[in-house]
Symmetry: C2
Subunit: 380 residues, 2 copies
Amino acid sequence: MKKVAILGSTGSIGTQTLDVVRENPDRFKVTALTCGSNTELLAEQIEEFRPEFASAEREEDAARFASRFPDVKFGWGRQGLIDAACGSCDMVLNALVGMRGLEPTYYAIKAGKDIALANKETLVAGGSLVMDAARSKGVKILPVDSEHSAIFQCLEGNAGRPLNKILLTASGGPFRGYSLAQLEKVTLEQALNHPRWTMGAKITVDSATMMNKGLEVIEARWLFDAPPEKIQILVHPQSIVHSAVEFEDKSVIAQMGVPDMRIPISLALGYPDRLKSSEPGLDFFGQGANLTFEKPDTSVFKCIGFAYDAIREEGSYPVVLNGANEALVDLFLRGKIRFVDIQDTLERVMDRHRPEYGLDLEGILEADCRARESIKEYFS
Amino acid sequence: MKKVAILGSTGSIGTQTLDVVRENPDRFKVTALTCGSNTELLAEQIEEFRPEFASAEREEDAARFASRFPDVKFGWGRQGLIDAACGSCDMVLNALVGMRGLEPTYYAIKAGKDIALANKETLVAGGSLVMDAARSKGVKILPVDSEHSAIFQCLEGNAGRPLNKILLTASGGPFRGYSLAQLEKVTLEQALNHPRWTMGAKITVDSATMMNKGLEVIEARWLFDAPPEKIQILVHPQSIVHSAVEFEDKSVIAQMGVPDMRIPISLALGYPDRLKSSEPGLDFFGQGANLTFEKPDTSVFKCIGFAYDAIREEGSYPVVLNGANEALVDLFLRGKIRFVDIQDTLERVMDRHRPEYGLDLEGILEADCRARESIKEYFS
């Protein structure tokens, strides 16, 4: 029985993680659940999964729930997430959105917990710090992102065999094939309408700008210790090939499947086992019958280039790129800026950034804060 | 330094094996070479690779070469192949065409040699016998067929994880999409014009009838201990996905690459290493940009069904199917019968066959002979 803490249990990945737990009641015990503002769903999840600990974003929600569920301990805010991650679990599934995912991952690693990682920012901002901590603690970091799970699967059984290239696939998002002029006219509604995956709002916008793919390049750099020049993006609109790896013999191993996050979630949770799924598999005579690949247009989707620049420069560059992007996406979601303002502003942020190196956790969090603050100045 | 005996060194796989050896002079030493009738090429290969032993099909060729190459021992015929396989090598690469590949594989296994197997008939006819011998001798059988090498690669790192399905890809051959009526009119020239792979005549005709894929189903059954109902054929005209495996979590791992046999050959020779290749890799924006999959038409390409029947029935069925097919392809190549006569005759052979079970090597060879003899009766 593996004891699992689920951070962000009411989001898209969180609810699908609970689907996997529900289908495997003999394998997993949920020890902690956390939500942001969706406390109604959290209450239902507590009823069903009976964790020892739960946490909400706001103190008043935690206080209200404490009386409703006397058997459950409650926390709130930043400390609540850390307590959830460092409790009595064997593994933390981190499905938090954004930078606030870094701290609980880091402290969970320090506490010796294996990590099922769906929070990109943990590695985008804290890559070096987090990977060093994981190595020194002997903790496994199992990717939950479909792309990184795919790469992880392609590398299994290939230990010690040098890789030539990581082929990171991208659906291309809703604006694939657009010119810069077309991108200028994009609306919020269009940006939230992703062709393949149903995800939260932040990541859906990141998919539309292709910053999501840029962040994934950075994540791959850390997870698989691959230099940026060995990571190549393949636009693959059908989202059937979840990513691939080319080895030195020019053999390519790819992982494929229906676009269903429960597959990578179940592998991370159940690792090293592959859990039996009762869902239909990939139909090569249906949705998998025609697979296409094309180059990303980096002259239109500039965020991809920023991500490569950030990971080449290292230090605080990825932190600032990520923090500024979060602030910009937030402004876009609130209707304050246009879609192209995201990448245009990021370009200026990156150009003007004076990097710092060798940051510890506090240093990373501060650099992130400054990046967010700087965005306010652009749009005040 | 791995010492390798190459059976069938003057054929398509044999010469490509020597390409791999030539590129890796520090890794491999060729201890034996064998040819059929292409003695001129064998002489060149002996000059270049200086094996200890060589063998030709005919005694007079061996005698002639013995005086020309006094440092090399020569053998001939059936015994020459067995001596080549059981000499001072660590590994035997068996690139013989047809049933005569079975005996040297079997004796090499008994002598404790690892096998790089490009000879399908070894497992089609001798599956149970050969796999039992390999298990009891602790000998590795490394597939060289691109499809089986792909499946082997997809299974690496997945030990103990039950597979749901083997997805065996097929180019579909030159007559993909043909009706039975169109197949009636096919000429020898058309049958020898394979769209993707350059191979010997026998296997090219087998690709055109799709018997090649049927034989590969039988081979996969033995190599990967998979029941026939778990082996599915995917027609994939681009020959980029060399095969794939679906696991119980519905995750599909596929191996891809340019259609270049040197990739699976180098993996089998260099295993567990992947040897660095200087050839261009797969271009996902070129030849790999559009991958399609479709069902095989088993009502037209009847050989597929015969192979599934043979492996379900086991015993002498696969032996007879293979032997009769070899005899029929030979008649077709000599212009004696029509293309569709191959599958029409095989249907009758299979219907009339009275199976034997538990055959030893002699029993298999005898059943094979009888199957070939029976073909003469159909066309006398």
